[in-house]
Subunit: 484 residues, 2 copies
């Protein structure tokens, strides 16, 4: 029987409804514990402190159709693009401003334990399918299809995230702003019958991690996978480690050997690894479900590696981009072309070792289009960077290069990996927060600089995504006394 | 009449009691609003999750005298050292382990508005006294007394903080650990009769700020002072800006012109500046009272610039070092020689423009000595960096150079200003957190790295103190399920 994600099934509609109903109950239960921490549903209502002014909300509402639709976008081999953004991708769904979309996102690290994260799950199986005769999704990364660069595989793994989409927003044009409200985030329960009500995720301490050249115990420069268990029923607000293992050279179904983690979706042969059970015994990792990747298609190139974040968002890897949060993105191409991927069960600021707890999630979003012509005089005017709003805070995201595709020239997509620093990302976050305060609050530069010194916190978002990130956080209630 | 801080007054004891009583009421009222945020008094009680194990607490208590004393250390020209640490300083007070000390700390930026922050306050007046005939405190900084380097003044301003102390802890020896519990922090009310119940602070956007070479409005490379008002009575949990002005060349009482902010305590002549009122109108800066500087004397040099933080603490500039927090420092010299200074009413992570809201505060501390011989097998064994514990979190402080005095050689105190980066500080924070997790929780390196990636947040402490800082924060309840 189809599980509600096989559109060729004659009873697909009925199965889909059953799936949705089951998912809904699971979601509601799961997320109650992280509700307050991530901002809550109040972001949906009209708030005086939203970046969307009442006048802009009215204008944008007036442009949207009177009725709203709710779309469901499953993750299958047909609905995902793996490891890249592209303005040339065929949309998976077309929506109007104000519509809701539920989007399944699969972790690209599910191959680290196929039994727990892929097998028995039709959507994941279709995406991860890889035999000597073919792959469910051949291209993985923005590199050449003939693997002529490194011989790793189609796309060369230059970009790693399984992205579901894109979603085409009718009427969206360059210069507009897309508001993406994250209404709900739920873990994808494992299909493994031995673990009912559980989800699983993988943390890879990999060669691109900040720690990698700085290990103190032998063998040096090892890669380590740690598998975590998440409660998909909502009774437990923390994840726990299940086991870990050192990466060993893995031979993929095409016969290519991967001595390191250099290509996404390689199924790890568990007969080649040694599992260490009882790791991190008693340690409870607070759950912070979020999407590492939510982004629009950039205009600068046809094929864009999914790893470095940029002005249209993408792989920002800020754990605050979860339930109750709202993101604002500048639209760079017609339709916006929104994709979602890199789901995380939890992550700390810095994502030190290279990945989070990479765990498949399903998100429900409301997407609202704000037209350029309506933005004048509002806080979203001329927004040219991805911005995060929670119930209590605004955050800007600084990167080593704000728009590396435009700044670094033709070789941008390779050069970015050698040019990043936290210092540069801090400088960009400083400039963006200054811009935000001066333009949205009418402050002088002197006022903005004093305020951001005594009332804004700068944190390390990630140091593992090519284009490193620093975020700056300001509390909304700082402005509670302003006339506005 | 003496205000309780002139020990030559015949009625000093009576006046002191009155002052203490008044301060006590003020403190209790003021801090109630920030009580929860900064950790609360629970840190005083025995906690299972403290870094001090029950056995260690018992051993350290057994070594201390049966009765505890409470000392009061006012800030006067006789009790402060300005701009440096030194193992050769004469102690201002000798205490036993377990004793309480209330320490007044004066901001070195009080000269930015003498009327609001110095005049009429006998302690501050004695410290800031500067006429053509002499200074209350001549040496300001670790530089030469004859100002032969730059001609700025005695000590050359190579180090800027007014430090009260040092406190000598009987029995403290190198290898021991000093636990400093911050029981209370209260703002120092202005003596200006026009502003009863208020305290004032200064934020200097200065030449050493991260923003300075990156201004977008004219005139470029300006320095700007913003004066903030703090409610000393406790009714208001936020600070507000009062006015700002651009720094103009200031001629000190000795006739030396200071075109930039290059020497601490220069009284600003307000007839030379233009005040801009109504700045940051309606903006409410959340109060985070804390001490930028709490540190022990390092062993590596006789005179140490107070600006760069190091292994014995000093100018860490983490706003979490406030009421309810506990700091742990490695003892480097006999007696420890603890000093307190650089009081802040608030600061954001990064201290971007160079200073916080620099505002005189009075702190009450309990200081507990843990002997090296008792530390074996406890989380404090071999602690060689300053560590912060709040009610809910542990934090390690990374610096670009963990011990720059030892690492950078003879020219360390000048070289450190050209060698810092956030990247280096992040690396140090990573290493210290790994050390903390492996030694105090018995984790393998692989476990520690995974945990600090998915459950530890790295933030930018400061990028303005020569030796830049990144802190790593881990929640205590992550270990709630551990047997320990």
């Amino acid at each position: 029987m189809c599980a509600g994600d096989d559109r060729t099934c004659p009873e697909f509609e009925q199965h889909r409804r059953e799936l949705m109903s089951a998912l809904g109950a699971e979601r509601r239960a799961f997320l109650k514990s992280s509700f307050v921490a991530t901002g809550g549903a109040a972001a949906l209502g009209a708030m005086g402190s939203s970046l969307v002014t009442p006048a802009l909300a009215q204008a944008s509402t007036a442009r949207a159709p009177g009725t709203r639709s709710h779309y469901y976008l499953p993750a299958t081999d047909e609905t995902v693009h793996w490891g890249y953004f592209s303005k040339n991708l065929k949309p998976q769904v077309e929506i109007d401003s104000g519509d809701h979309v539920t989007i399944e996102a699969l972790t690209h690290h599910a191959g680290d334990d196929m039994e727990l994260m892929v097998n028995g799950d039709p959507g994941a199986e279709s995406v991860f399918r890889w035999t000597k005769d073919g792959k469910g999704v051949d291209r993985r990364g923005a590199g050449p299809m003939d693997a002529s660069l490194f011989g790793r595989g189609a796309g060369e793994g230059l970009g790693v995230h399984i992205c579901t989409g894109p979603v085409y927003v009718r009427g969206a044009e360059p210069g507009d702003v897309l508001e993406v409200r994250i209404l709900d985030v739920a873990p994808r329960a494992t299909a493994n019958p031995d673990h009912p009500g559980k989800a699983f995720g993988s943390n890879a301490a990999a060669w691109w991690g900040f720690h990698f050249k700085d290990l103190i115990t032998e063998p040096k420069e090892r890669e380590v996978i740690t598998i975590y268990e998440i409660d998909a029923t909502g009774e437990r607000s923390w994840a726990k480690a299940v086991y870990n293992y050192r990466w060993t050279p893995q031979t993929d179904p095409y016969g290519v050997v991967h001595p390191i983690i250099d290509y996404p979706g390689v199924p790890v042969d568990h007969s080649t690894i040694e599992k260490h059970m009882d790791v991190l015994k008693g340690v409870r990792i607070p759950i912070r479900p979020h999407f590492g990747v939510i982004g629009l298609a950039p205009k600068e190139a046809d094929m864009v590696d999914s790893i470095p974040p940029s002005y249209t968002g993408g792989n920002i890897d800020n754990w605050r981009i979860g339930k109750g949060a709202t993101m604002y993105y500048p639209v760079a191409v017609e339709g916006g072309l929104l994709s979602v991927g890199d789901p995380h069960a939890s992550q700390g600021d810095s994502e030190l070792c290279g990945t989070a707890i990479e765990c498949s999630l399903t998100g429900t979003f409301q997407i609202i289009l704000h037209k350029r012509g309506d933005l004048g005089g509002t806080p979203l005017e001329a927004l040219d960077y991805p911005m995060l709003e929670t119930q209590t805070e605004w955050l800007v995201h600084g990167f080593s290069y704000a728009n590396y595709l435009a700044e670094l020239g033709e070789a941008a997509q390779s050069d970015i990996y050698g040019k990043s620093s936290v210092d540069l990302a801090l400088r960009d976050a400083f400039r963006k927060m200054r811009h935000f305060l001066m333009t949205t609050r009418g402050l002088t530069e002197d006022e903005a600089i004093s305020l951001m010194t005594v009332g804004v916190d700068f944190g390390v978002t990630q140091v593992v995504d090519g284009n490193w990130g620093v975020h700056a956080t300001i509390r909304k209630d700082i402005f509670a006394g302003m006339e506005s």
